[in-house]
C-alpha cells in the first residue's frame, strides 16, 4: 500500500486542484474589451432580425462574390451561421496582377492558404491568435512595433493595401486599422482620418506578387477569438512557414 491508496476521492480532487491552481495564468483581458466584444456579437445577432433587407442584400452579394470571374470565395464553415452569409473570405485577381484578399470572417485559414498558393503567393495563414512561429521575417518585411512606425519600402510594394495608403502617416496603428470588430480597437483618434474601407465588417489586403523577393512569402495572421487581424508581413518562404 502506498500513500495514494490512502487518498480518498476528495483528497485526490483537492490534490489535483491545488497542483493546477499553482500554475501561472495570463492576466485577464480588460473587462471593457470583453464587453465591447459582447456588444458587437449582440449587434451582429440583432441586425438580421431587424432588417430583412440587409439579409437579402447579403444573399445578392454572396451570389456576386461566387460568380465573379477570378474570385475564390471561401466555403461557409459550421452549421451555426445564419443562412444569409457572405463568404468568409474572397481572393480576387485584379487587372493589374495584384491579388485582393477580402476577409469577412476569420475561418478556414487552410483554404485561404491554398487559394493564395494557387494564385502564386506563398503564404502562411493562421487565425489561431498568434503568428506562425516557424516563419522568419524577411528583412524589411515587418512593421516596426512602435506606434506610428512608417512601413518599409518592401511592405509598401508587397502590400499596396494597407501600407501604401498610409506611407507617411505619423499615427498608423495597423492592428487597430485592420481590426474588424477587434476588442483592442478603440475609437479612432481624432488626429487621423478614417481609412477608406468598403465595409466596417471586412478587411481588404492587396498583395502584389511581383514585388515579392525570391524566396519570400507573406504572412497573414489573426485571432479568431479577438476578431483581430495583425499587420501582414513578408517572411522567408519555407516548408514549415508557407508550405512551399
Amino acid at each position: 500500500m502506498n500513500a495514494s491508496d490512502d487518498m480518498s476521492d476528495s483528497d485526490v480532487l483537492t490534490a489535483v486542484r491545488d497542483r493546477l491552481s499553482g500554475m501561472p495564468l495570463a492576466s485577464p483581458p480588460d473587462v471593457d474589451a470583453i464587453m465591447a466584444r459582447g456588444r458587437a456579437r449582440r449587434n451582429r445577432r440583432l441586425i438580421p432580425a431587424v432588417t430583412g433587407t440587409l439579409a437579402a442584400a447579403a444573399v445578392a452579394a454572396l451570389a456576386v462574390a461566387t460568380l465573379a470571374p477570378g474570385a475564390h470565395p471561401a466555403g461557409r464553415q459550421g452549421g451555426h451561421q445564419p443562412a444569409a452569409q457572405l463568404a468568409a473570405w474572397t481572393v480576387t485577381k485584379l487587372a493589374d496582377g495584384n491579388i485582393s484578399v477580402t476577409i469577412r470572417e476569420l475561418t478556414d485559414p487552410a483554404g485561404l492558404h491554398s487559394t493564395l498558393r494557387v494564385d502564386g503567393v506563398p503564404a502562411s495563414v493562421t487565425f489561431a491568435g498568434r503568428q506562425n512561429p516557424a516563419c522568419r521575417p524577411y528583412p524589411g518585411g515587418t512593421l516596426p512595433p512602435q506606434l506610428g512606425a512608417v512601413p518599409t519600402l518592401l511592405l509598401r510594394r508587397v502590400f499596396p493595401k494597407p501600407y501604401r495608403e498610409f506611407p507617411r502617416s505619423r499615427h498608423v496603428d495597423l492592428p487597430q486599422r485592420l481590426s474588424r470588430v477587434g476588442v483592442r480597437a478603440g475609437p479612432p483618434t481624432p488626429r487621423r482620418a478614417a481609412p477608406p474601407r468598403p465595409s466596417a465588417n471586412q478587411t481588404v489586403i492587396v498583395i502584389d506578387p511581383s514585388a515579392l523577393p525570391r524566396g519570400a512569402g507573406v504572412q497573414l495572421a489573426a485571432s479568431s477569438s479577438l476578431q483581430e487581424i495583425f499587420p501582414p508581413q513578408v517572411v522567408h518562404a519555407s516548408s514549415q512557414c508557407t508550405g512551399s
Binding site: 476521492d9 480532487l13 466584444r37
Partner: protein
C-alpha cells in the same frame, strides 16, 4: 458604468480565473483556453440578462467556452493540415509536474475531464453538474469515480518515479 455593467464586471473579475482553470484542465492548452474563455465571457455579456439569472453562471461560461472549442475543433477537422501551424499541444507551462498532470487529464475521456473540472474549480455538486452537462447525476458520479481513479495513479509517487526512469531510458 451602469449597474448591469458593474455587475458583469464584478462577475468577470471574480470568475475569470476559476473558469480559465476549469477550461484549461479540459483543453490542455493555455492559449486555447484563454481564447475560448474570453469568447465565452463576451457571449455571457451579449446575453447577460439571461446569464445573470442562470443558476450557475460560471458553469454557463465554462460550458460555453468548451462548446466554442468543440466548434473550433470541428471546423479545424475539416481543414487541410498545415505543417506546424496552430499548435494545440500544451505550451511550456514552466512546471513539469503540472504539465504531466495536465497530460494525465488529457488522457481521460472528455466527459470525465469536464466533470472533474466543474467539480474542482467551480465546486459544483453532482446535481448541478448533471444539469449543466445534460446527463444524469448517477452518470456524473460514475465519471467522477473513474476519473479520480485514473488521477490517483498519476499522483502515486511510485508511478511518478517510474515515469522519470522511463523518460531517462528513452
Amino acid at each position: 458604468m451602469s449597474n448591469e455593467q458593474a455587475e458583469f464586471a464584478d462577475f468577470f473579475r471574480a470568475s475569470w480565473e476559476p473558469c480559465l482553470r476549469a477550461v484549461l484542465a479540459v483543453v490542455g492548452s493555455p492559449q486555447l483556453a484563454e481564447d475560448q474563455v474570453a469568447e465565452a465571457f463576451a457571449k455571457a455579456w451579449a446575453s447577460w440578462r439571461k446569464v445573470r439569472r442562470h443558476p450557475a453562471p460560471r458553469a454557463w461560461v465554462v460550458r460555453t467556452a468548451l462548446n466554442t472549442g468543440a466548434s473550433w475543433w470541428r471546423r479545424r477537422s475539416r481543414e487541410l493540415p498545415l505543417a506546424d501551424h496552430d499548435p494545440t499541444v500544451p505550451g511550456d507551462l514552466g512546471n513539469g509536474l503540472d504539465a504531466s498532470l495536465l497530460t494525465a487529464l488529457r488522457r481521460l475521456p472528455p466527459r470525465q475531464r469536464e466533470v472533474i473540472a466543474l467539480r474542482i474549480f467551480l465546486d459544483l455538486d453532482n446535481d448541478t453538474i448533471a444539469s449543466q452537462l445534460g446527463i444524469e447525476a448517477g452518470t456524473v458520479r460514475m465519471h467522477l469515480s473513474r476519473g479520480v481513479m485514473a488521477l490517483r495513479r498519476e499522483l502515486t509517487p511510485a508511478n511518478n518515479y517510474g515515469r522519470l526512469i522511463n523518460e531517462r531510458q528513452r
